[in-house]
């Protein structure tokens, strides 16, 4: 509105070019990734600290789902902006596109699991792939139309194909527009975005079922996919805040991304990543708690008994109560440094969140032989019950390695293009954006 707003961005201006920073970040990140992943492999192969194959693969699953959630959140953000023809977000969209573009190679991180299942050793991670279960367990036998090796692998290929396809489409169209300024590219992205969102919802839901929920194949929850979606939004929103803070510190995007944009990115993180996440998490918990049906409660028993109990409380307090109060004010959302600090905290808590999805487990035999809740709780308290609580260094090295890889490759990708889509037709709208 006022004359102070610029209406265009020079694609060669140093404020929208990462320049040498891209290589610096990438180098440091790859070094950390190399060391962390090497340590992880050594711990896993040598079986240090009592690490079992199952433990190592579960740690890797946590790390994989952690980076996957961030990338899927970025893909969702990119597509929803096109679907609603948003103007404000143009100046931050390139960062989302570049994070989502990691879905082009993320299948590599899934290869260990894929190969494990392919060579018929999937039972290490997924109980439903153990031959003895398949032969004797009636529930699993009924689920074998879906939970079987061939279909599982086929689905994994399909999910990655869909994600890579859409991530590539939105990334490459946007980058091509930097050169041509062709408005037709925007129209095509807008046309495809709703279709992409539909495919995204279905693939994310079933991927969450396959890779996290089926770790305990007796249990089921129809809202599980939505929960993983909320996790993704939190991971991406926090990553975006940290990226914008880092770029701002290096003098990038300071005029293109103002406190107005920070406030809206903050709203996304607050609304989807904190409030919606808690809402979905509680919805899942309350229905199971209230109905109190044995076939549903096992999953929560494993998570609320013995050593896991304080972590579930920590999740409630650190993923909802604290960040909710910290970010509810608009002043908090408009402060780049403050929101980035909260985002770092949230990314740490997100690790706990995914850890609690993957790690806790209770055996069917233990559940079946339990006579009462107090008796089961007493067994858990005395340490007599294996609830899958085996935290170790490998949990941290795996996630650190995977996350560093993500940061390094994102930085390198971003180094090749302007940090904003310089010829997007809605760029002037984004530059002039004000909340009120």
């Amino acid at each position: 509105m006022s004359a102070a707003h610029r209406h265009a961005v020079d694609s060669n201006s140093p404020s929208v070019r990462l320049g040498p920073i891209a290589q610096q970040v990438a180098k440091a990140a790859f070094a950390v990734a190399g060391i962390a992943l090497a340590i992880s492999v050594i711990i896993a192969v040598a079986g240090l600290f009592g690490t079992t194959a199952k433990g190592a693969f579960k740690s890797w699953m946590v790390a994989f789902l952690y980076v996957l959630s961030i990338c899927l959140g970025a893909l969702f953000f990119t597509m929803i902006q096109h679907a609603v023809r948003a103007g404000w977000s143009v100046t931050v969209r390139r960062i989302a596109e570049s994070i989502a573009a990691n879905l082009l190679w993320l299948w590599v991180l899934f290869l260990p699991v894929f190969i494990l299942v392919l060579i018929d050793r999937g039972g290490v991670l997924f109980p439903w792939l153990k031959p003895e279960y398949m032969a004797t367990d009636a529930i699993i036998q009924h689920k074998m139309a879906y939970l079987n090796k061939g279909f599982f692998l086929l689905r994994a290929v399909f999910f990655f194909a869909v994600w890579a396809g859409f991530a590539w489409f939105f990334w490459s169209s946007s980058v091509r527009q930097d050169e041509s300024g062709d408005v037709a590219l925007t129209h095509r992205m807008q046309r495809l975005a709703p279709l992409g969102l539909l495919a995204f919802a279905l693939t994310l839901t079933f991927a969450a079922f396959d890779w996290a929920m089926s770790l305990e194949p007796h249990w089921f929850s129809t809202i599980f996919g939505v929960y993983f979606f909320a996790v993704s939004c939190c991971g991406f929103g926090a990553s975006m805040c940290i990226a914008l803070w880092f770029l701002g510190r290096r003098g990038k995007l300071l005029n293109e991304v103002t406190s107005e944009h920070m406030q809206d990115v903050g709203k996304f993180l607050f609304g989807f990543g904190i409030v919606f996440h808690a809402y979905i998490g509680f919805s899942q918990f309350m229905l199971i708690w209230y109905a109190n049906i044995p076939e549903e409660t096992g999953w929560y028993l494993a998570r609320t008994l013995g050593p896991w109990k304080p972590f579930m409380w920590a999740l409630l307090i650190c993923h909802f109560a604290v960040p909710f109060l910290l970010l509810i004010s608009r002043h908090a959302k408009r402060n780049r440094t403050f929101i980035a600090a909260v985002a770092v905290f949230l990314l740490v808590v997100q690790f706990l969140d995914i850890y609690l999805l993957v790690m806790p487990a209770i055996s069917g035999a233990d559940l079946a032989s339990a006579v009462s809740y107090p008796a089961l709780a007493a067994r858990a308290a005395s340490g007599d019950l294996d609830l899958g609580f085996h935290p170790g260094l490998i949990d941290l090295t795996c996630v650190l390695g995977a996350l560093s890889l993500l940061v390094g490759l994102t930085a390198r990708r971003l180094g090749q293009v302007p940090l904003v889509p310089v010829r997007d037709p809605r760029l002037p709208e984004a530059l002039a954006f004000e909340n009120m």
Binding site: S2, F282, M286, Y290, I328, S329, R330, M436
Partner: protein, 218 residues
């Protein structure tokens, strides 16, 4: 905003009239009406933005802008302080949160009577084996009451702080003012502003180079 009824609004003539006569008289009856304010007319958002900045800079506080669509940055140009509405909404939410707990504790987990127009009695009742005080079961009601009182608080306080509902406003009587919902931007300085004097304010308004300056009467 409270109508403080400062002296600038009253003419010596009207102060001698009884309240009944005041109501029945008016501009049509030949009585000189009270001067309510001066209104400057502009034809662009940029013009009113600049005018608002200067009016605030000149020290005027009782003034307002009437524009056909939201003009971003106008609040800041007018020097309007941020609203306290968010804090009131938050307190409304806290009230709902507390009310949800108290309501369910009294109805589900207490057994005493009290009289509130009718006799009321807490009535503990065993529902599917849940304890009388059971957090998860209470959350939905607490959540909904938090939302309800936040929302009602937001709407209610917004109306109250704006002095609404208000069925009459002196600007509405001016024939030119209809274009405030179409293509004109009006800046009104009220006579109750301590800096307001008819001559000086009119001269100041002229310096803003508006399309026209109108007199508003109450």
């Amino acid at each position: 905003m409270e109508d403080t009824g400062t002296d600038a609004r009253k003419t010596p003539m009207s102060s001698t009239l009884t309240s009944t006569e005041l109501r029945t008289s008016g501009a049509t009856a030949g009585t000189p009406a009270a001067l309510w304010g001066l209104m400057a007319e502009f034809d662009s958002p940029a013009a009113i933005m600049e005018a608002a900045k200067q009016t605030h800079g000149d020290g005027y506080r009782w003034f307002d802008c009437h524009v056909p669509f939201p003009v971003h940055g106008l609040d800041r140009a007018m020097g309007i302080r941020p609203t306290i509405l968010p804090i009131l909404v938050f307190l409304g939410g806290l009230t709902g949160f507390g009310a949800g707990i108290v309501l369910q504790w009294f109805t589900n987990a207490s057994a005493f009577d009290f009289w509130a127009l009718v006799g009321v009695r807490g009535y503990p009742f065993l529902i599917s084996g849940k304890p009388a005080i059971s957090g998860p079961a209470w959350i939905p009601v607490i959540f909904e009451l938090t939302i309800l009182l936040s929302a009602l608080g937001a709407a209610g306080w917004m109306l109250l702080l704006n002095g609404l509902p208000r069925l009459y406003h002196p600007t509405l009587r001016h024939p030119k003012f209809a274009r405030a919902t179409d293509d004109r931007f009006f800046l009104v300085i009220e006579a109750r502003d301590p800096r307001f004097t008819r001559a000086k304010t009119e001269a100041f308004m002229r310096s803003l180079s508006p399309l026209s300056i109108e007199t508003l009467e109450d």
